[in-house]
């Protein structure tokens, strides 16, 4: 599904009109994330349409060959798994974010206010965040045999995988592009766990397993989890504030935005397993050891045996909100592209397990009147230090295309970590 989403994003980028006054943003925020681009500062066209797509995954310890192996399928060799294992550092993080949005702003006033105009955004999001201790990786990719006679401490670990769609409506300030929108949220699927304590002891010869567990697991209804399905409804706030700034004689802008601060109420068929317990497992109790015919039980039976059976019922969980801020300074004189600044310092944070504030510093160069390029250095998100590049070009008269990769090395190397691509198309008329 994720693969097709990326294809969709590229398809949306194809119909490019040209227009001279469109001002696609400098995308100063960490490009790992959604890639939704700020609205143009000025002038104000009658119609403004932004199509943005971004797809990225990253990790601070897992190499791309492992992640791609998991994605592409097939056999994962022991050597491949060991390479990422050797890189584990005790605080492992990873995740992905696939976002697609279409924003349309139009008109000259909003409820009688000449400074604002209506704005609507439709977006599709698929995100996963993960943080885990080394033994989680060891058990997952090598099994528990290596832990025979000792304890694997699996906590703290957590993951959250959410797919949801939003339809937001609000108003946009014409001069600055600042906006506020309220969104209705469709919850497509959820798969999440939080492990505050999980100590797994494997006795010699597997005589018993003992698990001290404090955590929970949440899952949306497995039926209807495909794209277009609905397993929950919610609401969210989307807010963006862009201010022109001057530091000494240097002009710039300050931007702050929050996206999808809200919740989804997952429906009554959702499942969860909240547990704070210690499990001592010596095997399935059978009546007749000579009768093997009913010996094997399914996953559900084992869950019941361990006291980890699902509880069915509705629950509410917060959305993985995105918080962003950037400060851009120094207008590029070599280019006619508006709002293109020489230096941009940005920080963002997404409320997902394993995501740490992503800080980036960007230097942008003008490439003639209708194009510019940038390089950037960044740290955070799901990964570590990353180098990025990007370019922005005016197409014909009404469109401005932005293409960037915030992780250029990872994007071209399977022995590095992470891949990211961002495509944006702004059309105004």
């Amino acid at each position: 599904m994720n693969k097709w989403w990326l294809c969709g994003a590229l398809l949306l980028a194809l119909p490019a009109w040209s227009q001279p006054d469109a001002h696609p943003p400098d995308s100063t925020r960490a490009a790992f994330v959604t890639g939704r681009l700020p609205a143009p500062l000025r002038p104000v066209p009658a119609h403004s349409l932004s199509l943005n797509g971004s797809g990225a995954f990253d990790a601070n310890t897992l190499y791309n060959d492992l992640v791609l192996g998991l994605y592409n399928g097939g056999r994962l060799s022991r050597g491949l798994r060991e390479r990422s294992q050797d890189a584990l550092n005790g605080r492992n993080r990873g995740g992905y974010a696939l976002d697609l949005s279409v924003t349309y702003a139009w008109g000259t006033r909003f409820f009688g206010n000449d400074g604002w105009r209506p704005r609507i955004t439709v977006a599709d999001h698929h995100v996963l965040g993960l943080r885990f201790r080394d033994p989680v990786y060891d058990l997952t990719f090598f099994g528990n045999a290596a832990y025979e006679g000792r304890t694997a401490r699996l906590a703290p670990s957590a993951f959250e995988q959410v797919s949801y769609q939003t339809v937001a409506f609000g108003a946009e300030e014409k001069c600055t592009g600042s906006y506020i929108q309220l969104a209705v949220v469709n919850g497509q699927s959820l798969n999440a766990a939080r492990i505050d304590r999980a100590d797994l002891f494997t006795a010699v010869d597997g005589r018993y397993l003992e698990l001290g567990l404090d955590g929970g697991y949440w899952r949306s209804d497995t039926a209807g989890g495909a794209f277009g399905g609905s397993n929950g409804l919610g609401a969210a706030l989307q807010l963006g504030l862009t201010l022109p700034v001057r530091i000494g004689r240097t002009l710039g802008e300050l931007g702050i935005s929050v996206t999808d601060v809200g919740f989804i109420a997952w429906n009554g068929n959702s499942l969860r397993v909240p547990r704070d317990t210690t499990l001592h497992y010596r095997g399935i109790r059978v009546e007749d050891v000579l009768d093997l015919e009913d010996l094997l039980i399914g996953k559900n039976g084992l869950q019941d045996t361990l006291g980890l059976a699902y509880e069915r019922g509705a629950f509410v969980r917060a959305l993985p909100a995105l918080l962003e801020a950037h400060l851009a300074l120094g207008t590029l004189r070599a280019t006619s592209l508006p709002n293109t600044f020489a230096y941009t310092l940005a920080v963002d944070h997404r409320c997902l397990p394993g995501y740490v504030p992503f800080v980036s510093l960007r230097r942008t160069f003008g490439l003639g009147a209708d194009a510019c390029a940038h390089v950037q250095a960044a740290y955070g998100g799901f990964g570590g230090f990353r180098a990025g590049v990007g370019a922005k070009v005016r197409l014909l008269r009404h469109a401005l295309l932005t293409v960037a990769s915030p992780n250029i090395i990872g994007s071209v190397s399977n022995t590095a970590r992470g891949k990211a691509v961002l495509v944006g198309l702004d059309v105004a008329w």
Binding site: G74, Y208, I284, L292, L296
Partner: protein, 534 residues
């Protein structure tokens, strides 16, 4: 401007190429990797009650256990004594002179009150109650008017009402007779088989009459015209019969009763004491004398047989008659006790029989009509023989083998399965006074061994005290390695055979107590392929 258009086209084509390339990529399969897992699989405890069903166990005050096993050797049903064959009777009517004679409408021109005598193979029945059956009444009319035939059984009644059946037959001619038939179920009818004067046997009074139709024309009859009535009794199943059943011999053909007590068990078993009771129940109201030609213990696995030696196999057995309670009966039970003192019952049982063969003759009413015609039987009447065996579990076992083949329902398929190879660890804490050598084998549908899972091992016996009872359970561990090839084999056949050879501790007999138990845990170290199950 032209350059801009060109760059736009290049961008579009590049993006389109990416999309198409991505779309052409084969749908990814699930990733697979192998992990080494170690985990407990199952735990179980085994007591005597798990080996022998509770229904067969009896526990003494000291905790000693005995097996009380009952098997039915044979059961002779009602048809051994009485069968009612399908029977037809033909009644003809014609003028004994040339005629013609004219019968007016509504005239009854002949009435025949007669008796029907059944041939019942030596039985002399006085009363017969029908459980199920049917009588057909067919009339063939060669006269030129409609005839009404009335058939009755004055001696047969249902809830006090006598049996009667009427058949209206349209006109016919000698060359084109008219025939109609009707049937009536006899279920529940009671036949008085003593005839109209109550002094006969197997005899049923009948009444047959013909009448011209009330609303028809007169019927002219010559000696060329006739009426033929055919009465057929068939599928008669008696519910109750009484009379004298006659002195005769019923041969019970040689047969074998299957015995499952020692199913899948082989080896040498030495029991210190065995008692058996042969219980013959006579549910038929006749005296009988049974001559047991042989009662044979057959071990189908070894081919060995042991014939029971006891007075009952040497001399005829007299069987008392059942008691008629009027609507039900009380069988007469004739019991014969077999001990080591009066028979070879220990050898008979220690042969671990899979079946008991027998052949016998039964003489009914060997002394004649001593009941004065009051022999009886019910539909439920049987002559049955049950063998009860009581085995105190004080025994000595030498390589007593218990073998069982099970179908293993493994996840995945033979072509793709997550389990790759591994080692099974069996941990046992044995509180029984015998050891058990355990062996696992992969077998085919014909129970032929395809692979033996090595190394296996022996579960040690519990430690015996001076009194011959287990004082301390003993722990043992057995490993069984399952290679990748063997696992593939197991996936193909799905059959695994567990063989346990038991040997009692010490040299003499050991007493099994109800409190003895064997605790077993099975764990596994295995290589598992994630997403490997197809």
């Amino acid at each position: 401007m032209g350059e801009r258009v060109t760059s736009f086209r290049v961008a579009c084509l590049s993006a389109l190429s990416l999309v198409l390339l991505a779309g052409c990529r084969k749908e990814p399969s699930a990733p697979q990797w192998d992990v080494d897992l170690v985990a407990p699989l199952i735990t179980t405890s085994m007591t005597i009650g798990d080996i022998v069903p509770d229904s067969l166990l009896s526990v003494g005050g000291d905790g000693s256990v005995s097996v009380l096993y009952t098997t039915q050797l044979f059961s002779l049903a009602l048809d051994t004594v009485l069968t009612a064959p399908d029977t037809s009777f033909r009644y003809g009517y014609g003028l004994p002179f040339p005629g013609p004679v004219e019968f007016q409408p509504g005239a009854t021109f002949t009435t025949d009150n007669d008796v029907t005598t059944f041939e019942l193979d030596g039985l002399q029945l006085r009363e017969l109650k029908i459980r199920s059956g049917q009588v057909d009444f067919a009339v063939t009319n060669m006269m030129n008017g409609t005839i009404i035939g009335d058939f009755g059984l004055p001696g047969a009644s249902l809830n006090g009402a006598p049996f009667a059946l009427q058949q209206v037959v349209p006109p016919g001619t000698p060359s084109a007779p008219s025939t109609l038939s009707s049937a009536r179920a006899l279920d529940g009818y009671v036949f008085d088989m003593r005839g109209p004067d109550h002094n006969a046997v197997n005899t049923l009074a009948t009444a047959l009459s013909y009448t011209t139709a009330q609303n028809g024309s007169s019927v002219t009859v010559t000696d060329q015209d006739s009426l033929i009535a055919l009465v057929s009794y068939h599928d008669i199943v008696p519910q109750y019969a009484t009379g004298y059943f006659g002195t005769r011999t019923v041969a019970v053909e040689p047969d074998t009763s299957v015995l499952d007590l020692f199913a899948n068990v082989s080896g040498t078993l030495d029991l210190s004491q065995v008692t058996a009771r042969l219980k013959v129940r006579n549910g038929i109201g006749v005296d009988a004398r049974a001559t047991l030609q042989y009662l044979r213990s057959i071990n189908a696995s070894t081919g060995t047989t042991v014939d029971l030696v006891h007075p009952i196999t040497a001399h005829p057995i007299n069987l008392d008659r059942a008691l008629d309670l009027g609507g039900s009966f009380l069988p007469a039970e004739n019991a014969f006790t077999l001990t080591e003192a009066n028979s070879n019952i220990d050898a008979f049982v220690e042969n671990l029989p899979s079946g008991i063969a027998y052949a016998l003759d039964i003489v009914i009413d060997p002394l004649g009509d001593v009941s004065n015609g009051h022999d009886f039987l019910y539909y439920e009447s049987r002559i049955t023989a049950d063998l009860e065996v009581e085995i105190p579990l004080r025994l000595s076992a030498t390589d007593l083998v218990l073998r069982k083949t099970s179908t293993v329902d493994l996840p995945g398929t033979a072509e793709g399965h997550a389990l790759q190879y591994g080692t099974l660890h069996l941990f046992a804490t044995n509180g029984f006074p015998f050891s058990a050598q355990v062996q696992l084998a992969i077998v085919d549908a014909a129970d032929q061994v395809l692979a033996t899972l090595a190394p296996g091992g022996t579960i040690a016996s519990g430690a015996l005290g001076p009194n011959g009872l287990v004082t301390t359970p003993v722990a043992s561990a057995i490993d069984v390695v399952l290679s990748a090839e063997q696992l593939d084999l197991l996936y193909r056949t799905g059959l695994i055979r567990i063989t346990a050879a038991f040997n009692t501790a010490g040299t003499g007999h050991v007493q099994l107590l109800n409190s003895y138990r064997l605790d077993v845990q099975l764990t596994a170290e295995g290589n598992y392929l994630v997403n490997g199950d197809e």
